[in-house]
Amino acid sequence: MARDCVVHNKDFDRFLALLIEKHSVFGPSDNDGSNGFTRIETPEQIKLHRGVAHFSFKNFFFPQTEVLFSFDLASKKIDAANKETEDGKYDILIGLRPCDALAVDLLDQVFVVPDTKDVYYAERRSKTRIISFACNEPCATCFCESVGCAPDSEVGADVIIYVLKDRYIIRTVSQAGEELINGTGMHFDAASEKDRAEKEQMMTDAKSQLTRAFSVDELDDKLANFDASYWKQICQKCIGCGICTYFCPTCHCFDITDDTEGSQGRRIRTWDSCMYPLFTLHASGHNPRPTKKERMRQRIMHKFSYSMQQYGRRLCVGCGRCVVHCPVNLDLRAVIREITEAK
């Protein structure tokens, strides 16, 4: 069912313009603010950076601040706004790298796949189509292949675009992606053997730039030892800020609080982090994770072990943002390597 179409450089803006005309398009630009994406009005606005964008696109489906409902304290009336979807009109999230697209699929496991769905995430997700761009030039901090992703992974994307020298190959991955491409009304040449060969070569080159950061083969066994001695050393550098969790495209912990002003209020969901000491503090004063050792262990175990048991997937896509932004250069790759090599 997957279709490979070719669009030449000179026609690519027209392709984008057609999407922009028919749908609401969001993607990375020069001025994303703290959202990580901008509403795209013209093709020129889309700015693809080398490797991963600064922010993940987590904010799109799982905003840092989300109003669950508003209320009136006098009448106790609750207003849970549900946005209506216009038939046939979608949101398009364009410009994700395969790691970020995979991350969306992983967050789906938490918010959408279980019987009890997160309504806010699920509704936004169901009316969004994802167009990703394969990676030609991974960054030095990328380690997607170490966690089972790849510069050309299609998981999570409806359409994936390969950027060749003077043209693009647009591959439809899902039925929704197929409909999206057909819906532009544009004529596409089918990709030829030559096109495919060039694409393969680019991907081979890209993959050769990635170094294997660690091997997950023995990780399950090693992490089964909850009381291993290395946790004391691993956590030492950590200063307990939330940068790694906030930049991580799959971290999904949140807090629910009530925000009031006078007699009006709203119940809001905001990002939270297991790295903060108060995250698990009981009202009684008891804290199951009293020091950063327990909290670091929880973070690593959740991403690499518990999630395997919960969803059959590891909640890490190898985007490297935690490595880039950690103020003390606590390198997750080194941590996992140390764990796999521990006796």
Binding site: S34, R50, Q64, G242, I268, P327
Partner: protein, 325 residues
């Protein structure tokens, strides 16, 4: 630099061997180019990991603000302090968070720390192979060549006008280069900022903080922020919302920075930690200058200091209480 590094390694090795400390906190090579990373050494075989170069940025005093897991049984910790780090440490001692006798301080009179991001931006993605340093320059060797940079051109802002590169307290001192700058008050950046109109200043304030994602890295990287329960996360009462909307973000920063009055030593750790490159110094330095002007006080210079805002003196200036806005 290499001379300093071997002097450092020798000193630390001796401290560990003689059991003067059970743990030494310094820097090791980072896993990213032009970075170092905090290093915790307990065995003297591991001292070879310790480095000293122009990228030793982190304020290591931050690790003394709470009990470290894995603390040695004999309790004494050795720590490497640049000028700014030692002033943070002095403040922690003055505020009774750390006991002087529990730390052994190897001080380094620092020539300034290089802003890695700016240097990397200049290098435009070249693959770095090696770095060499001398008193003035840094030579970065990459695939296909090398480039020489004057250290002074790439220092962090907080280092540019640093008045106290030599630690204010130490047990052992390692000198790096010779320079004795004069304190500059008010800070030139703040001076320029204050010349702008009120509207302009507010706009800059808004613009800088619009990038804030409330990751609390600024707070956690600051040695002064050691509250077990930060006002930002208190529930009884809840002072303000947890959102990343403007009013909540402003509230957080304004209050946190006000809590630094008389305590901030302008080490720049908050600015370096911020993943959004928010110029937090624009706000913190205002307080540093204000405290100097009103009280003639600079924190972190003497172990005999009393905590400024916790101490009252009859000749404290009082005219601000009657000042017009």
């Amino acid at each position: 630099m290499k001379r300093v590094q071997s002097e450092l390694v020798e000193n630390v090795s001796k401290l560990l061997r003689e059991n003067k400390v059970g743990l030494f906190i310094g820097y090791q090579d980072g896993s990213l180019p032009l970075r170092t990373s905090p290093c915790f050494v307990t065995k003297h075989e591991d001292v070879q990991r310790l480095v000293w170069n122009s990228f030793c940025a982190n304020n290591l005093s931050v690790y003394l603000k709470s009990v470290l897991p894995g603390l040695p049984a004999n309790g004494r910790i050795g720590i490497l302090c640049k000028g700014c780090d030692s002033r943070s440490l002095v403040n922690l001692i003055v505020e009774k968070q750390v006991k002087r006798e529990d730390v052994v301080i190897i001080g380094i009179s620092c020539p300034g720390v290089v802003n890695t991001d700016r240097l990397l931006a200049h290098l435009e993605g070249k693959k770095i192979v090696d770095v060499e340093e001398n008193d003035e320059d840094i030579v970065v060797k990459f695939d296909g060549g090398e480039e020489r940079f004057a250290r002074r051109d790439y220092l962090y802002e907080s280092c540019l006008n640093c008045a106290y590169p030599t630690p204010s307290v130490y047990d052992i001192l390692i000198r790096v280069g010779k320079h004795s700058p004069k304190p500059v008050f008010p800070d030139p950046m703040i001076n320029e900022f204050n010349k702008k109109s009120r509207t302009e200043r507010w706009q800059i304030f808004e613009q800088e903080l619009s990038r804030c994602i409330r990751c609390y890295a600024c707070r956690n990287a600051c040695p002064n922020c050691y509250c077990k329960e930060c006002f930002a996360e208190q529930t009884k009462p809840r002072w303000f919302g947890l959102t990343n909307e403007h009013s909540d973000v402003f509230f957080y920063h304004v209050v946190r920075i006000l809590h630094q009055a008389g305590r901030c030593v302008d080490c720049g750790a908050c600015v370096r930690a911020c993943p959004e490159n928010i110029n937090l110094r624009l706000f913190t330095r205002v307080l540093v200058d204000e405290v100097k002007e009103r009280f003639g006080y600079e924190p972190g210079l003497s172990l005999n200091d009393s905590s400024l805002l916790a101490t009252f003196s009859t000749d404290d200036k009082q005219e601000f209480m009657a000042e017009a806005d």
